[in-house]
């Protein structure tokens, strides 16, 4: 038995509802944090930062956000790209209008602004459900992107409609702009990702989280029990958009540095995030991270193998990438519809019973 919970006794309720009720989990978790906060910043280089780790963290934040809305509250949304755009453009406007404002605040404020927009577009969810809602959220996707593209005020009347991030630093360390060190870029995303994941964990184990899940599982019963559906759904939209807004702000200011609404926040991004949470596991925080890692890393990996090692034609490799991502999605769903996180849980359950099969 490598993995066990026997022999561990909880003496209080707070302890029992703690994040990691099994000791082994806790140590594994500390170990990962150690790697993430100490080891990686020491070893990181430009390629790893901007091709792998930073996008991974940014997408993980976006997945956390969407997971709150879709995984916990059960409202499928395809407006993620649009909300990320709100985050990015708010961040840009804040950074350029208030050059002295610390960029951390800019990012958080962008999250709040996005939350507001999220509430606005969440209102229809009170009446519209399921796939109808999913398609309806596309309205926000298209409308928001159009808006940012249309009104030059949003991009400070720049000739091309692109926005690009000015250089800003936190505690004297540059975090945005082209001269930023990879570790700083990584660290700021990591801090946000960690803080937000922790907040997400807290929210979802508390009463708000239960409200969302109740709404997801059976909204009528939830209402009869005393859940105000209006409040539950709108709060899910708000908080989810807050996360996604922050992801958008980081995406723009830290990761890419220059974006254009139509290209960077198109509908593909909305789908990408949806993939992440479904592959990772709906309603699971771990799943958001696994899903993001998978969707970011897999194409890079495949490309490096096919083009880098086997020297295949780049175009063929990309086609194969599409094919294999498609196949993998299907295989995962067939094998475990509840995502990679559930697979992990089942594995733990097996280990718990090990060496007995049942």
């Amino acid at each position: 038995m490598f993995y066990r919970e026997v022999g561990e006794f909880k003496t209080s309720y707070p302890h029992d509802s703690g994040s990691f009720s099994i000791r082994l989990d806790k140590y594994g978790y500390y170990f990962i944090l150690f790697i993430a906060f100490v080891v990686i910043p020491l070893m990181i280089n430009d390629y790893w930062a901007s091709a792998v780790l930073v996008p991974f963290l940014v997408w993980a934040i976006a997945s956390l956000g969407l997971n709150i809305l879709t995984g916990h509250c059960g409202q499928i949304s395809l407006g993620t790209g649009g909300f990320m755009a709100v985050g990015a453009y708010s961040c840009y406007k804040l950074m350029t209008s208030f050059p002295d404002l610390n960029v951390i605040f800019c990012i958080i404020l962008s999250g709040l602004i996005t939350a507001g927009v999220g509430i606005l577009f969440g209102i229809p969810s009170l009446r519209i459900k399921g796939f109808y809602l999913a398609v309806a959220t596309l309205a926000s996707q298209f409308f928001l992107v159009w808006l940012f593209n249309r009104f030059p005020w949003f991009y400070n009347y720049s000739a091309s409609g692109q926005i690009s991030t000015p250089e800003r630093s936190v505690f004297g360390i540059l975090v945005t702009g082209p001269n930023v060190d990879p570790w700083a870029q990584y660290m700021i995303c990591l801090l946000f990702a960690f803080g937000l994941a922790w907040g997400c964990r807290n929210l979802t184990r508390g009463s708000l989280g239960r409200k969302w899940m109740a709404t997801r599982d059976m909204d009528i019963a939830a209402e009869i029990i005393g859940v105000n559906l209006l409040h539950a759904k709108l709060s899910a939209f708000a908080i989810s958009s807050f996360y996604i807004g922050i992801a958008g702000a980081l995406f723009f200011s830290v990761y890419l540095g220059a974006v254009e609404a139509t290209e960077a926040f198109g509908i593909n991004q909305s789908f990408l995030v949806l993939f992440m949470i479904i592959i990772g596991g709906l309603g699971s925080i771990l799943g958001s991270f696994i899903g993001a890692a998978f969707m970011v890393l897999f194409p890079v990996l495949l490309k490096n193998i096919l083009v880098g090692w086997w020297e295949w034609d780049a175009a063929i490799a990309t086609h194969l990438e599409f094919i294999s991502v498609g196949i993998l999605i299907i295989v995962f769903l067939i094998f475990e519809p509840h995502g990679l996180a559930q697979l992990w849980r089942l594995l733990k359950q097996k280990l718990r019973l090990w060496p007995y099969p049942h």
Partner: protein, 274 residues
């Protein structure tokens, strides 16, 4: 051997099956039973004993719930049927009435009933006359024939599910908790229908029931299932006389029927097996 004798005229034989859900949860741990031709067999047991699972194993609906039969065999009329699709089984005359009123919500009651005849290739007029027969059994359904099933009451849905199964002209019906949620009068009617079909149309029944009293009254053989194992079986008459059954399943003590109001202390059930 008793078993062998039974299998002579047995229609359906379940031999020592094991069922696992999600590749980890072992639910049935070796269940064997047999349903004779024209028999009415009751499958009794507490909640979670595995009655539904057994029925689903027979009708092959398990796979769609991520469950599988990992051991043992199921034969119907001498053929192994484990690998048939549910549709093929229906064509062979085995149909299940699922627990919990699975009606097609958006279809009207009448359309629901008609889907029951999906596998039949007969003329429309035959099907029409069967439809009338079902309406005769359940006049309430006729009243509501044009309503969407999703909006009908619990009991009406239950009737609809049973009626739908009858529409396929089955030889064997696997009935899962038919009496659940039905008014007493109707419960009796349902069992009368069972008896009727059994005697007049030679339909065999495998009944999973909680209403032990009724089930034992209308069946000729019974199995008691506890935690995935058959713990007792015998002709219904005998089971009705068994003191344990009387106490735990029929709520009767030596002194006759006990009032629910007076079961003061919690009695832990005495288990037959571990």
């Amino acid at each position: 051997m008793v078993k062998e004798n039974k299998s002579e005229n047995a229609l359906l034989i379940v031999n020592n099956i094991e069922v696992i859900y999600n590749r980890v949860i072992l639910v049935l741990k070796g269940v064997s039973l047999s349903l004779p031709k024209r028999g009415v067999v009751a499958l009794l047991g507490g909640n979670g004993a595995g009655k539904t699972t057994t029925l689903k194993a027979i009708s092959n609906l398990l796979r769609s719930e991520r469950g599988e039969v990992t051991k043992g065999t199921i034969t119907y009329q001498g053929d192994l049927v484990q690998d048939l699709t549910p549709a093929e089984l229906v064509r062979r005359g085995v149909i299940q009435v699922m627990e919990g009123r699975h009606c097609f919500e958006h279809l009207t009651i009448e359309e629901n009933l008609l889907t029951g005849a999906f596998t039949r290739k007969e003329k429309n007029s035959d099907i029409k006359s069967d439809l009338e027969k079902v309406y005769e059994y359940f006049p309430k359904l006729k009243e509501r024939r044009k309503s969407q099933a999703g909006y009908t009451s619990g009991g009406e849905q239950q009737m609809c599910a049973i009626g739908r199964a009858l529409m396929s002209k089955p030889e064997t019906i696997l009935l899962d908790e038919p009496s659940m949620g039905l008014a007493p009068q109707l419960v009796e009617e349902i069992f009368e229908i069972v008896k009727d079909l059994n005697q007049k149309e030679k339909v065999s029944f495998l009944l999973a029931e909680q209403n032990t009293n009724m089930a034992l009254k209308y069946s000729n053989y019974g199995y008691i299932l506890e935690s995935g194992r058959i713990v007792m079986d015998g002709p219904s008459k005998d089971l009705r006389e068994n003191p344990d059954i009387k106490e735990f399943y029929l709520g009767m003590s030596e002194a006759g029927r006990k009032s629910f109001r007076h079961t003061r202390s919690y009695r832990r059930r005495k288990r037959w097996l571990g």
